[in-house]
Symmetry: C2
Subunit: 159 residues, 2 copies
Amino acid sequence: MKMSQGVEWGLHCAILLGQMPAGKKLTRRQLALHYGVPEAYLGKHLNALVRAGVLAASGGPDGGYRLARPPEAITALDIVTAIEGSTSPFVCTEIRQQGAAALPRELCLRPCGVSAVMAKAQAAWRKSLEDQDLASLIEALPRSVRERIAARYDAQSAR
Amino acid sequence: MKMSQGVEWGLHCAILLGQMPAGKKLTRRQLALHYGVPEAYLGKHLNALVRAGVLAASGGPDGGYRLARPPEAITALDIVTAIEGSTSPFVCTEIRQQGAAALPRELCLRPCGVSAVMAKAQAAWRKSLEDQDLASLIEALPRSVRERIAARYDAQSAR
DNA sequence: GCCGCGCTACTCGGATAAGCCATGTCCGAGTTGAGTTGG
DNA sequence: CCAACTCAACTCGGACATGGCTTATCCGAGTAGCGCGGC
């Protein structure tokens, strides 16, 4: 099992964008240079975030990405599911209904215990991510780090 | 992100083996036929469970697999990690230390917030799986299902 | 009748090939701002 | 001086190659029971 690298990128980019003053945008090139990641591939993941309604993109000169909602209204789960997909990593193929000892349909109305256990664990995982909003992630950054960011992108800011 | 199919197989096989009377073994062929899955590939996952100390395998005539410990001492997490590996699906590549805005080493002594959030979610997932032992999974099976299993593998049983 | 040995059949285990998804890249469509020109 | 038009550069977005991991399979090493032969 391997999670897409884009999740890390998306989270960091969202945290970075959340520190920008209102209206300020960052291009995917800026984001890619900031973290030293391939620009085009990063764009692919940013696009997924736009589709999910987490980021907003605009084209043309002075275009770029910004948060589509205030950081308090964006959870880590929003970002992860936008990039990674909302389908559970575990898929129950109902093997209890297959093979030589297949159970008849009427005994399989309830989900099997295996599926239930995995679903429960997945729910716990999602809950943990849902309880973390972007604002708290930004607040948790050391002051010195936030100052570096602010100094780098002061850019007489908002438009 | 996609979890290996073998996790489902391993869990079901462990539940099945846990219902056998003490000493009774099942060959990988029996297990594969029972669930209608490819025998050789199933063996690969069963082998992983043996390496992890969850199952015990024996060769020769009347060989096969059995639980290495009583069902109460085996958790769902044991089985999942044995097959899926114990490495976290999320790997932090420390992109905060890379790229044009790389942070100096002395500001990165603590793990970054992103890594912490993902690790916390992963811990919640593991905890959920760890709280489920094999015995409770077997107990949760409908009585009719357990009877079918018993009837199928009565085989004057233990050796 | 009993013990030891060899054999055989059966088991698992690791080394060996295809398929699919994540990765990585490219070029094109769309948009916005600025410059220019005419009124 | 102002407004509208044209242009051009810059942006993102989707279509196109590549690699690694999961899947799938085969054959070989090891083992335990069984039968046979000798004592």
